[in-house]
Symmetry: C2
Subunit: 332 residues, 2 copies
Amino acid sequence: MKYIQRNLLKITGLLLLVLLTACATSQPAPDPLLSWTDGPAKQQIIGFVTDVTDSNGSDFVPVSQRIATFDNDGTLWSEKPTYFQLLFIIDRVKSMAADHPEWKTTQPFQAVLENDMATLKASGEHGLIKLAMATHAGMTTQEFETIVSDWLTTARHPTTGKPYTQMVYQPMLELLDYLRANDFKTFIVSGGGLEFMRPWTEAVYGIPPDQVVGSSIETRYELRNGEPVLVRLPELHFVDDNVTKPVAINRFIGQRPILAFGNSDGDFEMLKWTTSGEGKRLGLIVHHTDAVREWAYDRESSEGRLVRGLDEADDNGWLVIDMARDWQVVYP
Amino acid sequence: MKYIQRNLLKITGLLLLVLLTACATSQPAPDPLLSWTDGPAKQQIIGFVTDVTDSNGSDFVPVSQRIATFDNDGTLWSEKPTYFQLLFIIDRVKSMAADHPEWKTTQPFQAVLENDMATLKASGEHGLIKLAMATHAGMTTQEFETIVSDWLTTARHPTTGKPYTQMVYQPMLELLDYLRANDFKTFIVSGGGLEFMRPWTEAVYGIPPDQVVGSSIETRYELRNGEPVLVRLPELHFVDDNVTKPVAINRFIGQRPILAFGNSDGDFEMLKWTTSGEGKRLGLIVHHTDAVREWAYDRESSEGRLVRGLDEADDNGWLVIDMARDWQVVYP
């Protein structure tokens, strides 16, 4: 009897241990922002998240209102020597050129084929839209998704030689994870094309397609051999930049974010809209200060031009992240 | 020693019991579709959900692709004697009339003020848009949200006397919950106004604002006394109906749903788009057959007109839900 009891005791104790291990949260959580320099910026971010998630605090925000929006180019991934979507367009023009002999003598296609960046830039917004429509329209949405996915697996960045999806910022990946671990819903709100981003944002950022907001062209539903398709049309539907970012946030998300992160004056109104709401808010700007590990640019840059953001950040209470100082690591 | 052992055994056993109770999932789940008649329709829905969530089965769908879209008017809530948003417009015209003396002699406002439904209907789409713009634009998005919320707390349905948010279908609330319990993301894709729906869909359906897709008007970002606002403009941005529902699904959700539920021919293309994808799919139609508990209408109705949906459901493999037969309860 005593023998049985002793063994039962052992077995029960073992079971107890197994269950305790299974039930209990074990270790203290590791630093969620490991790639961020320990300093005021990191402290302020963690302080904000701690405050809005403290159900006993005066700054508590219910889960359903924990909306965070992120610009993409220059905020989540690099944008030099120029926007990656423009590099995609250039590659597309070159690979489509055989079917378009007229492009050899038609601008701005000719400039692309001759690697004449000066003429290409001189073609301005009108020229870029022409290139975008020629390369982004005329196929179904499914075909375009395949084109983007295929390009990303083979294309390499002109100076780093990395795949573009590895030129995302490690500290931002950690911030996205940290926010989601605290029940934030994370959104992209970018000037980039909706359907240029959606094929890869879930795998790379953990942001599903329906949480991606961006610029778009018109599409048309039609039947082909009885099967429905959505055809991409060479007609702009919406450009998501500066004053239209709050418009898009309202249309797609339907709530004002409590945190917004950008890097250029194209994000100014998104930050203003976000931080003007009631209650605790956080506006953040990536300042590209790191010519060694990434690029250094702001006021004079054609990509990610940042003037008002720098001049008015203090007055607005926005946090300017100095890449060289605040990030221990840039790329994963 | 034996005494200590015996007591330790008891304590350990008790602890084990407590932990087992805490850890284990206890009871078998109650019927998730309690208000649905036990029969082929209910079986087919449960069978579909069981199949796509069985990770060992050939029809398994990963969580990230479990997208379900629902029409609103006539699918999630009633739409008789006419669309509830039109009843909102009528109430708004009446309450705004004092500030618009010209409406007494201007159609279609005069018809609304004189309860002349024949003239109102005769004004057609053009007349309705005029009324919609007069009542839905000219204020900020925040002001409009307050107007809608206030209206819903006081307005009562003309024949049932119920608040409109209680004229939602209990079986559909159960289906939404059931799908979400199986890691579906549930969306509304409605011809109704985006910002007419968003103030209440989370509380009523458990569908957050960013998962509501609908028709919209233009908005403009501006500063008022230094504070940003979004002003609603009297200009249509997008009408979400029939062939544009797949367009909106693609633009807002960015993935093809695997389940779609509608009730009128305005949902035909959404169902076609949904069920034409690869893998297991489910298309469903509410057939309003219950003149006693709700309304009975289909081919001849000006709201929820259903002709092709009935004629082509079988060929498309869509499930037609007979309200009188398949629903034990209509309203909560």
